[in-house]
Every structure is written in C-alpha cells, then in structure tokens.
Symmetry: C2
Subunit: 332 residues, 2 copies
C-alpha cells in the first residue's frame, strides 16, 4: 500500500510503500477513496519530537470500500462503502489502505459524492457525542432550549449547528469573527450569529434571549471560560473540545448548579469502552440524515489528490485557524 | 410568631417575637413541628458581617402543618402535613411559623415521627438532584454502574447512599474516616467503604472494581479534585456540593471525555427556574419511598426543642465536621 508519513515534526510528508496489513478479528481493511484533514492531524504531527522510523501515518477522517474483513466481523461485508474517523492510537488515513475496527465504522451515505462523504465522519461523531452524550440533550424533551456554539464556521461547528437545529430542535446562537464565516453559519442553520472577538456576553444579552441552557466551545476554552461561566443558564452545561493550558475557577458555576464536560472524539476507541459500537450506530444515523436531505455535507474545498504538496497546503490552511467547513483530498 | 435570629456572626441566637406573616400567591404558611440543622445554617450566619436588625432567621429543613394558603395555591390545603427545605433567599425555619412556596414543598410521609421526617427534606433534595438531575443517572439504564460517594456518613451522604443503591441500583463505594462512620455507611447500604484520609485512589483500585462511572463529592473538593480526576471512568461525571477556594486543571479530564458539575440545592428557588415544581414532585416521591420502607430516615440525634442553647449545641456539633446522619430539634 501507499501512504504519506512524517518522520519528525520538522520535515514534510514522505511517500511510503508498505505491505498492506491483514484484517483480523473485528478489523475491516478499507481501500480509501477520499479523506478530510482535521486539527488532530497537525497536533499529532507536532508531537513527534525525535526523528522516528517508520514514519507516522496521521489522518482520521475517511471514506472507502471494504476489501477484506477479520474473522469476527459481523456488521459489514466485502464491497461495502463506509465512512469513519478511526482510532488515534492506530495508523491514520493518509494512505491507500487502512485497518479500522468495525464498531467505529458506518455505512456511507448513498446519495453523496466521495468528497462530500469524506468531509463528515470525524466532525459528525464529535458534534453528535458533544450534543447527545456529553451535554445529554434529549431530542424529545429539550427542543426549544438555547445553545451557544462558540466558533460555528469550522468543521465541527458546521455540523453541530445543523444537528442542534435540525435534529435536536434547539435555538442556535453561534459565533463567527468574519463576514464570510458569519454567512456560512447562517447557511448551516444558525438562528443568530454574534462575534466572539468582542464582548461576547454583552452581544449575547443584546439579542434579548434567555441565557443559554447549553454552550459548546469549539474555540479557545481558556479565553472564553469566564464568559461562558457568566452566560450559562442555571442548571446548564458547558462542553468543550479545545484543551486548556490554564486552571479555572469552577466555584463561579456553583450557585447555578452548572457544569463543564469535555468531548474528545477518540475516548471510546482509546479506552475500548463497552459502548464503542455507538459510533457505528451514530454514523449510520448521520448517513441516513444526509441521504434524507436533513443534513448537508460541510465540504467547502477539495484540495486535490493526497500528495505531499497538497497535504502541506492543507496543513498550512488548518494552522491558519480560519478554515470554513471542511477541506478534503481524494485518493493517493 | 416566635423565632430565633442572629444579629451578627459573633453573637448567640436571640429569641424574637414577630407578627406572623400572611400567605399570598403560591405561599403556604406552615406551623413548624420539627427542624433539622445543616452546614448552610452556619455558613449564612457566618456571612452576617455587621450587626443587622431585624436579626436574620436561618435554617432550611423542616416539617409542619399548613395553617394558611395564598390565593394561587393549588397543591395543598389547610391541615396538610408537609416537609420542605425552602428558599435560602427568604427567612428560615428557626421559628414557629414560616412562609414557603408550594412548588418546593412535599406532602410529608405518613408513617414516620416528626423528628424522623424533619431529618429528610434538604438532604433528600440535594442527593436526588445530584444523582438524577446533575449526574443524569437514568434509573432504567444505569443500574449496575459504580458510584464513589466521598464522605458518606453525613446528612447528604446518608440519603445519597440509599438513593444510589435502592433507587438507582448502582454499586456504591463510599468513604468514611472513623469506624463509627464506616458502620453507619454500611447500615445505609454502601457496598464498600474506604478511607478518604489515606490514598483514596490506591484504596479504590485495591477493591478490584472498574473505575467509578460517577463520583459524588460531599467532602473537601479542593483536596480531592486530583484523585477524582484520576479515578473517574471514561465518559464519567463528577458532582460536588462543596465549594472550591482553588482553581483546578480541567484538562486532565479531557482524554476521558469526563466532566464536573455542581449541585446546589437552592438553584431552582433562587433563580425561579421553570422546573421549580420538580422539588415538589421529588419530595412526594421521597415520602412514598420512606412510607414503603425502601428508604429509612437518616435521623441520628434529637437535640431537644428549638432553644438558643440547643441551637448553639447543634452548631458546635455541625462545625466539628464529624456529624453522622442528621441532627433534629423539635418545635420552639
């Protein structure tokens, strides 16, 4: 198989030729059609401190076809089209082929292009888990409540807005800092867009809405912590996906019986939790919602095929922090 | 009416003679039969920095009889026996009579003595909300999971152990630091008791159990934060009722997608949340569980009638931090 690997944080990707791995147990061997890039790719690359060999294959967001299966596979058969994020503790998708545990793979939507599909898995899992597993939003009982999504135009924000609005029936207030990203958030379904660069609390309060029952932070958690603590409604929950460098005052949430919870997409696969298969089920649900036209792909730009040059372009764009929607690359 | 009031933090309670207040709107006027003391009593007393007049009536845990009702009252009638914690922003229960909003009052159990009843409302509301509203424990789906209750022998711990074990069906691991409190925790229904004064993580792990899906902290949150973060299972939630003085590192919970949430019993009444009436419903449920013998009263000691001397004794005992179960006083 072919792959792109990094032997250190300071070097460009290099093209690798490796023997294609064997599918065993619950693994599927997938021939990859398209991938998307995510901040986790550059974070894992940055963690390679010393030159390593073999080079590390990053990337956890892909669609492709099942070409071999392990002995215990029950959910898929050869030839199935699938989409998945995968497991950050195993080799990634900057490759022609990849092994992934069937319990974290979904059947791909049937009515979208491979690039539209590749844009979806990692961010859909993240947003779904944040809303429904971490914030415990109940699709039946919580409709009509307010959610503030800080940083709505990125990959996770683009699908979180759609899920919060179209699946959970929430009133969605989101933040963006440029007119281009504001327009994108409205297209995704946001009811209100404010600017997180200037006095977010004041801007939120100016809307005349009840304080948010839920806050989903997809931007700088350290920077926004105090504002989130001020805004969150009594009995509300804040969820973030962006790690903190600083310690924080939890006591300011106490009189409101409020809380703070993390969403990390890879928790289930990393700890092999007993409910790992929930990622299979939720990806199938996402596929149906896409095929039914309730959700739309958050694909914004296809960079081209998976080459060393195109990956470098994609990483530069990601690191600028100004990505809108998703960046996708076609097969190697 | 008669009451005991504090005009400053440095003086003893003084006996007050005041005109009995009128019940309006959703208020019930209750003639009090017995009360329980709680840490919030001494905390509110300690917050009286300058001498004030009239003196402040503290205490939020009582049982009594409805002797007058406001125009909008729908849930109760004259003569009903009730139990309630009340609203910390209004005068408390160190008194012969008290006004309380009907939406935070429950019908008293019918098979218990007034002192057994007075022991229950504040701690039952706290424990119920912590388990079922903050930790979002689902009585149907979460049976068999592990909960660690830090500080199991106090008022909240004594009923939290019972609710976690007998209502939610959880496996209950609790902590106590003396053999007397350990025995009490086992009597309340704890499956395992460890000592929170010595290497709690190691002691928990020695039990050979899966890491706790839930942690309820009823003891020093600052002191136990790091141990709780280490122990909590992936996708788990920590709830505390004890305020923090220090800032804390939330990032150590990130890879587990874990979270931290507060329970403050007075949030609903303080913010007049739209679901305030849930306290009425949950108190009625607690009364039925007590009458059915599923829960038992956590009363441990009846100090005597509500006098200035007995309140001083009760506060000294509370401030020692070694209270087991609940301390109750009979009517003034």
């Amino acid at each position: 198989m072919k792959a792109l690997g990094f032997s250190s944080n300071d070097t460009s990707a290099q093209l690798l030729e490796q023997s294609t791995p064997q599918a065993t147990a619950h693994d599927l061997l997938i021939k990859i059609d398209a991938i998307a890039v995510n901040p986790v790719d550059t974070k894992v690359k940055a963690s390679i401190k010393a030159p390593i060999s073999p080079a590390k294959i990053v990337g956890w967001d892909a669609t492709g076809t099942v070409v071999a299966i392990g002995d215990h596979v029950e959910l898929f058969k050869l030839g199935d089209n699938v989409f998945y994020a995968g497991d950050v503790t195993r080799p990634g998708c900057y490759a022609s082929h990849q092994l992934v545990d069937e319990r974290i793979v979904g059947h791909a939507p049937t009515s979208l292009s491979v690039t539209e599909i590749a844009a979806m898995p990692l961010t859909s899992i993240t947003a779904w888990q944040a809303l429904f597993s971490r914030l415990r939003i109940n699709k039946k009982h919580d409709a009509g409540k307010n959610i503030l999504i800080i940083g709505g135009a990125g990959g996770v924000g683009s699908i979180a807005i759609q899920l919060a609005k179209k699946v959970a029936g929430l009133n969605v207030i989101t933040t963006a800092s440029r007119s281009e990203s504001e327009q994108w958030c409205r297209k995704m379904g946001a009811d209100h867009v404010i600017n997180h660069h200037s006095e977010m609390v004041l801007q939120y309060r100016t809307l005349g809405l009840r304080d948010p029952d839920y806050i989903l932070c997809l931007n700088d958690t350290d920077r926004h912590f105090a504002a989130m603590a001020e805004l969150i409604a009594p009995q509300g929950l804040i969820c973030s996906i962006v790690g903190t460098q600083q310690k924080h005052d939890l006591d300011c949430l106490k009189s409101k019986s409020a809380g703070f919870v993390w969403e990390f997409m890879f928790t289930r696969s990393m700890f092999k939790t007993s409910d790992m298969i929930e990622q299979h089920h939720l990806l199938n649900t996402i596929a149906k919602l896409l095929d039914d036209g309730i959700l739309t792909s958050t694909l914004n730009h296809v960079i081209g095929p998976l080459t060393t040059e195109n990956i470098e372009k994609a990483h530069i764009k990601l690191l600028s922090g100004s990505t809108i929607g998703k960046l996708v690359l076609t097969s190697i």
